[in-house]
Symmetry: C2
Subunit: 646 residues, 2 copies
Amino acid sequence: MKPATNTAERSVANIRALLIDVINKAKSGHPGMALDAAPILYALYHDHLVADPGHPDYFNRDRFILSAGHTSALLYSVLHTAGYALSMDDLKSFRQLGSKTPGHPEVGVTPGVDATSGPLGQGIAQAVGVALAENMVRSSYPEGEKLCNHHTYCLCGDGCLMEGVAQEAISLAGRLRLNKLVLIYDANLATLDGPTSDSFDENVKLRFLACNWNVLEVEDGNDIKAVSKAIGKAKGSKDYPTLIIVHTKIGYGTVKEGDHSCHGAPLGKEDGDKAKSFYGIDAPEFTVEPEVYSDFSASFGKRGVEAYEAYEAGLKEYEQAHPEAYATFQASLKKDAAGLVPESLPLEGAKSTRVVSGEILKILHQSIPYLAGGSADVAGSTMTNIPGEHPYDEYHRTSRDLHFGIREFAMAAAVNGMNLHGGILPYCAAFLVFADYLKPALRMASLEKNPSLFIFTHDSIAVGEDGPTHQPIDQLPMLRSIPGLRVYRPADVKETLGAYKSALAYHSGPSALILSRQNLPQLEATSIEGVEQGIYQVYGDKKAKLAILATGSEVSLAIEAAKLMKTPVAVYSLPCLELIQDIDKAVTLPYEKRVSLEMGSTFGWGDYAKYHIGIDTFGASGKDKDVMAHFGFTPEAVARRLEAIL
Amino acid sequence: MKPATNTAERSVANIRALLIDVINKAKSGHPGMALDAAPILYALYHDHLVADPGHPDYFNRDRFILSAGHTSALLYSVLHTAGYALSMDDLKSFRQLGSKTPGHPEVGVTPGVDATSGPLGQGIAQAVGVALAENMVRSSYPEGEKLCNHHTYCLCGDGCLMEGVAQEAISLAGRLRLNKLVLIYDANLATLDGPTSDSFDENVKLRFLACNWNVLEVEDGNDIKAVSKAIGKAKGSKDYPTLIIVHTKIGYGTVKEGDHSCHGAPLGKEDGDKAKSFYGIDAPEFTVEPEVYSDFSASFGKRGVEAYEAYEAGLKEYEQAHPEAYATFQASLKKDAAGLVPESLPLEGAKSTRVVSGEILKILHQSIPYLAGGSADVAGSTMTNIPGEHPYDEYHRTSRDLHFGIREFAMAAAVNGMNLHGGILPYCAAFLVFADYLKPALRMASLEKNPSLFIFTHDSIAVGEDGPTHQPIDQLPMLRSIPGLRVYRPADVKETLGAYKSALAYHSGPSALILSRQNLPQLEATSIEGVEQGIYQVYGDKKAKLAILATGSEVSLAIEAAKLMKTPVAVYSLPCLELIQDIDKAVTLPYEKRVSLEMGSTFGWGDYAKYHIGIDTFGASGKDKDVMAHFGFTPEAVARRLEAIL
């Protein structure tokens, strides 16, 4: 790039110089792609993105997700320059404890950051969820485009495209024809360990065409006009989502240009100054020329304020024209659905908690038009079918039944994206053992304080014939160790109702409902309210010499075993460990007199009970009753174990 | 299909009838794809696959992995008919406890089953690892084709192709030009929840072409000759791996043909009989006509015996011609490398355990020619670079340096496949937080009793600036709860040596080495031998009133904190919880006097100690020392916590 000959080039040069300073001061960060992608972000924010820095969270803004989260210094530099409440001091405290400019973008921390990103591939998958929610909201109200009508942009590098979750999301977005999604691929030919071609030599264009995307290509990533033109064309797509491949050179303008070694190491003062000089910048550190601010305020800033004001005015008109729809829309933004969970269900006899969950969902779908969800091709088994609803697709935009396909990870990440967007109350479902496949998205939901709802059925060796590959053992400890995630394992109808009520009232983190495949009896002493306490007694009296701490399907088993015992035994149900305030208050018997009972790994139960009845090996293929008996989960076998402990 | 007009069709009809009986008797199983894929498996086994049922594990056999593991009834029926030690009684006990015919294929349980499969997508990724190991073994010995020269086949359905791990593996196999890999895709247009097109409408051919695969297509999956011809052509590929798309109809020949509802439900007697009648079979249940057995024995059986005998004879000649290479080859099959770990390293001063690990790997590479590994594009950070080695690719087939790309899950699954194949001692590496991305493959390694070696660095909030997305908190509990996985977290040079020694001696399950990014001091009382005990004392004497139980980087921290205390405190290092025999023998102080210290989730420590110093929230972006201080991980802060506990 020759010295800037126009305002746009001068602005890009300023942004590049700024991000070099940001990374140098922190002595930490990733300049490589940040430098080469600067013209892309400039073109996007300057010419296209509709958002108002003064109201960074307004609902109808365009969303931008930096899937290549390691290039955060570029994003922060652009946000600062574009007028967001991100000061030069914030940039100077890049990657420092407590700053608004953490190492990777974190939603809720920095104005203008629409998703937490960094774990590669997930930004793309969240963007797909955002675009999906945008379409669902727009499609489901009269004149819905007055409530919601915006684009979703995402920037990624090679790394994101190599991750499997990206392919799942790309395939899903193509299938669902999410035409207002624009993915920009910075093809800079280098990854951390070397030239991209060492590990990745796909024809990316062909791969996206195969997945029902439009593909545009920009040969020179420094040609700001060409990048902008491509984004403009992508915005107009009426059929498919669009990929824009932008060819760039990693570390553009530095002495390490084209060399992967500039990926993750600060340039330092000397190389930084050389690069700045190449860009035509010769100013003290952390200087942005006034013309750059005004360049942005006259374009991005002005456009955003106008859009915001027009949207707000339009909302008022909408409220007049469609008062009911408007009320629903406002309710959808609050996600306050806990009160709509019924107090009881007309179910009698033994029922699996997955069936109970299915009945609850059906009822909720009748009262919550913005409830939407689906499963990874196991709707019939997880009971997440919505009767009479066609799968959501390009011809059924008002459907609430999402067929995510056999793509657990992208499903979960998309649900996170839907929550980030708002206006939809999403859930998703899979077999518990396949929580493994989507664990990174569960963690992300928790990091984002995202109230994503995960329904996991087939929750133990009682799965039976499918065998150890399909029988969860290690999944409950995995889930329970994620900070902020609530893991509910209800024992019967009442506790399942309680779990839904509690989960839907929890707005600052995700919830997982752990449900049985097999039928479970309805218990006398269980209650909806018990769930919110995390632990409560369901059997036994003051004479008890031993306390069983059980969850889900093992609560009824514990009671049956207790009834076989001569020694009096108390049984506690623990529908949600995370909600327990003080176990020593809840359980009167001391630690040495407590036994945990759960058909899975005993790992993690040591804080609650001294003795454990569980399974610390993998399961086995066989009839469910045979497998349970084999592992000692019959009333008689449990009673024998309890006697031995006594 | 009209009634069979030739032997091949008659055999396929018999196999279809048999698998209907197998599933009906079990009242459990997946007939849909099993029925339509019968001609594919027939063509493969009858005409191409080289394997000897009498020696099902002989090294140079062709491998077959049923990635669509839910169609196990088909595989078992073929294995029975083809002459494996799988009796009609074994088939009759399909999916029953303790049988040789579990719900999904399990390696080590059934002769002729080359991998555990069922969790979708992983079969493909394991097949890529198998094909990679085949190529590496063949390429690295003089006349290596006499030791190893076979094909790897894999059968998948839509589900496998939707999973992200499959795309990672497909892209990797294409990049590495694994031309002896043949993937057969049964395109039967249905998944569990409905028509495939509800969730998946990619152009699969184009996607594979984009990923450097050859693609063949068979229009009629019942045309056995056409299927066989395609496999024959694929076998001959000299450049790329080959995908064969075979168009079929789910549940072929049943009343539910073409309907997704036959995917996972037994047909039952009536519909089963109708289908059998359609195939032209009218015989009692569990009948296979003698001609079918002889059809297989004259083809597959004869070919296999001859190949086995020729290979064994060739091996003897090889031993004469290349005694040293032969000895190395034999050693590679035993994977007995623990004795090659040095007793000490010439390292002085504070070193990160990732650097120590890197030094150990370099030494092992000098003495173990069959050691091979790499990382998910973080070799420079995980210290898994092999100096002077070019990335393994089509031009560098003898290289041992694997660039897996940013594909953690496929990397881990491929390593599992390499171990299943044998002849290579593989390892792989990633940041600990991204253990999340590959967890399903870790579980699979453990299920398969596969000694896969996983190196996880950047093991705590001490990662610093990269922030909470990159700082492990919940990963150690996740790993420790997987049955059979050994999790080593060494404290210094000696313990890192001990961890390698112990892990390499553990042949019946996987190991994870958890290593620090930051430097750690060398400790006086640590030892190589201590690792194998799981726990041992490293500081303090009999007067101790409190015991700190610490791992990895927190062992030195614990000692420093203990030195600040007036009350005498003992410190124990716990390099591997799974190896602890009896904690009450190892620690003389009672449970109430023990405190765990680990910079991560306290979940799971309740079995070892009453009090915990850990982190049960996510981390934060900042300088490593600032972040550690913020979370109370300084000697002073720990000492204060201990005083409070006292």
